[in-house]
Symmetry: D2
Subunit: 324 residues, 4 copies
């Protein structure tokens, strides 16, 4: 079947409301504004909410990235600051000392390279106490970062690599960055989701994700993601749905006809989509032409946000000097 | 309106036949097989055929690339050999001495980088008579190669750059390589079209192409192209058409309803597609996940084919030594 | 023989003074400071100065890039501003309307990719009057940009490509960016030279440069360059010279021995260097490990400087919006 | 002090013989030829030999890569076949089932990217028994591959990452690929060293290597390396040595002078080298201009060689189909 999952809690809620025409019990929404940047928190408060939303209990914050952000260094910095503020809310910066930043995804596939590209820009400090102790004092938090690759390239389940590293490095906090799948084209590269629930098995660009969570790793896991692709099947599926919706809305009279449309929906949709996309269904992705530049800018925004949240005693200038 | 153009003559013919349920006068088809490789010639013989097909008078040869070719060096070489044979048919290798190979497209946008990547692998010899005359004899044809960039990046119309170079270098033959747009997902990266008509204004990945032809340049122009993207609007459009076709086929009875569907087709389709794809319509492309690797392999196949056709006195081994 | 040329006028003067123990008549030096940035003008005033310095009559301004600049966005902007100020002094911004920016060098060879990387970041506007006239008014200067490749890759002399484009596009001003060769390791990536004399035949990373100047093109040519490599032969040569200097300074007594050292200098040095570097002499370059990141930062600094000097009616924010 | 270490056993032996004018007891040399490819085995048989050579007890096989190999697909395949033969000699292919291939080095620094680039081309199969068991039978050996990054980028000692993975994945065999440092320019990219002793702490491009060996990991470790850089200090140092050798050979008479030269050698050499290379001593590397292309070709040769040695039941064609 065509995958209609979304990695975004805010989108899952929208889809629920659209389908059931009512909100979900046990799910609370809160909207905030910081300067020009809007962000929304979806709180999943109990098991019932979790089940209906299809998302674990916890907090999901969605930052809206203003249009044209990636062309404007100042707005990029603003988004980074909001991101750092949101991350700081979710972690206990004084207690959780050592942080491991994990860039999920395949850096050879541009829209899936977001995670690896963020790790490249993380201010890595864990080794400095050994290599250059004089340059470092207690105010610098030990941070390490790795991009473990994807199963198809390494032959090792990503979760296994992370679990073995966590057992060895013993961080107090894991931050995962990942490219997500969205259901809606207008969210493409325009939304950052931060959650304190880790990553649950499911969609994403790389499909076969295993759980990466406090439960599986034994330490707190913050997940940061951006929807960078919509799959071609989603485009086809949405187009078909829209036509059928349109038709149904127009022919409100004939009950018989209504049923026929329902039947098409059920029986023929997948076949129609396969006809549009031929055999390659799963391997085609929809992305903007200038996806390389966009992923670069997004990775800067996210890396800066993480760096600021993990090093509260340093300003951006100090951080930049370190990264150099 | 949604662009339903195709750069492939063979596809334009299919679309004509589908619509008019008959073949085009003045257009002749010829199918051939060379080992495992099938190739088809579309000959546009007169103005009537040209007008109906929407393609200039001349020859359009389409080589089918077998599945999995890009993972198999031997089949890649086979396709290169068929390509070189086809190119040799279209040029007069003994009369047309100096060749200029032009890689159209933007090397920063992966699926549009085919042309620039081919030029990198062309055996360039024009300068050797000056730089190292002892290494070169009359059997080596002078070849030069350039990737002139795209209008949005250079501010200069590609046709202007090529025209000024042709006036300066005075080649006897220009070979242009370009990424094309296809109407059908199953042709994506699986077809090479070679034509002796040059490039006519229109679609392509980069949209705003000016004519590059014997008429505009004053020398013979061979165009080689591969469809590397399908635009997202095509996917949406096709999905909608399929649903409507399906519905029409099912409700062959009610005339009134049929007309309603026709009306939707006309009035609402574009709006529906915009709803699927939001504002970004034109900037979204559909491509395979591993597009980087595919473009690399295709550029090797095409560059080798061109090298063999331009240097008939050398075998592939000699050519490889030169390129090094 | 080992190449001891330098592309930097300031270095040529140092070498002259070292050798002749006096300054050059007809060459005037002027040092200035702008904030933290020091820059030095070498004015070659007459033929005698030109001959002795080995540089054409004209102005050569050298901007010193402060240490760690490439890790600090603010200092990068400061250097860009000084560069734009220097360029504005050399051009007549009100009279010279259309500008063509040319990125010399080979983008596949990292330290030689400076020029092509700058052109990617130039605010290109020449085509906008046609494509989107409403977005553009008279205050925006028409700018176009091209990276013509190098002889070994294209088979066409770079000067030929530029000449043919200048004849076609008819700019009022050409700005060339090139990677230079330095004689001194400490200038590597730490100096920008701007001159109004164009580029004279000679050194550079790509060795076989033809003249690109007002004389050859018929329009004013500004050349901007950064030394990005020192060749391995220079390192070997300098090492040998230093030992010999050291020995000579120590054995000030024995005249006979002194002469022997002189003989070594003359006869054996090249053979010794060949022994160190074996056959590959010319193809080895010395560069910092993180050369990719350095070239990226330098290209941003230079592109921003050029953009500001060519668009005096726009501030950096406006420019960034355009480039996006 | 200037680093005069070499990672190549064959070079260490040459240096020993040059210095002591005699061969090393406990070290045996064996030369072989396979078609056009020469390869040499250095066997370190006991502790005395190990101490004098500065290399652990074990086998070091050096394959000479013929000139122009990287431009010739056929010779590349020949070298891959010799490499696979050599690796097969060192492993017990029937007993050691699961193999972990580790690409050491930093893929952002071209000459250090050899290891990561090899892992990209390894035929990874370990996950297939789960993902697609029908495509796999017992004749396919489980192989996984990872590029763990370097300490400066991850903040985690490479040895720690590998140790934690080995504890998790429990391979029977680890194959490490690394870029090496050579003392001699003519070995640059022209030699592959394969050893069964793992990697000992020391030189390499990335300097701070920890031991990666059967002792540290608990499983057999095969190390494969190619010298891809010579540091600039080596060039300077060799030049100085050559001048002094030359001088000494010429003035065989004066004993006093001889001693003076010896003093220079001892006291001033490092200062002289610093003067040549200024402050940046350690960060400058000497590499060929076309290093990107060379590393690409070398990574193909090595990956193919490893693939053939690990999958003795498959020929190169089968392997290529899998990798696709």
């Amino acid at each position: 079947m065509i995958n209609v999952r979304t990695d975004l809690a805010i989108e899952a809620r929208e889809m629920y409301i659209k389908k059931h025409s009512k909100d979900i019990d046990g799910v609370v929404i809160e909207e905030e504004q910081d300067g020009d940047i809007k962000f929304t928190t979806v709180k999943v408060k109990n098991e019932e909410g979790a089940k209906k939303l299809g998302k674990s209990i916890g907090n999901y914050i969605t930052i809206d990235i203003p249009e044209f952000t990636i062309y404007d260094g100042e707005i990029m910095d603003e988004v980074s600051k909001v991101l750092s503020k949101v991350v700081k809310r979710l972690i206990h910066v004084n207690e959780e000392k050592t942080a491991l930043v994990v860039g999920l995804g395949n850096w050879q596939v541009t829209p899936d390279a977001l995670g690896p590209k963020v790790t490249e820009k993380i201010m890595v400090t864990r080794h400095l106490q050994v290599v250059m102790p004089e340059a470092i004092d207690d105010s610098v938090r030990p941070v390490c970062a790795i991009a473990p690759g994807v199963l198809g390239v390494t032959g090792i389940e990503t979760g296994e690599v992370i679990k073995s590293l966590v057992d060895k490095v013993k961080p107090d906090l894991v931050i995962c960055i990942d490219a997500l799948a969205s259901r809606r084209v207008e969210r493409l590269n325009r939304t950052i989701q931060i959650s304190d629930t880790g990553i649950s098995p499911g969609a994403g660009v790389g499909n076969n994700r295993k759980e990466i969570s406090e439960k599986s790793l034994g330490v707190k896991v913050i997940a940061i993601g951006v929807p960078t692709v919509v799959d071609a099947a989603t485009i086809a599926n949405d187009s078909i749905d829209l036509v059928i919706d349109e038709l149904i809305s127009q022919v409100s009279s004939g009950k018989e006809f209504y049923n026929m449309l329902k039947d098409i929906d059920k029986n023929e949709k997948v076949a129609l989509i396969k006809e549009v996309l031929c055999a390659h269904v799963g391997d085609l992705i929809v992305a903007p032409k200038d996806v390389d530049m966009i992923i670069d800018s997004l990775s800067k925004i996210i890396a800066n946000g993480i760096n600021m949240s993990l090093q509260p005693n340093m300003d951006m200038e100090d951080i930049n000097k370190f990264i150099g």
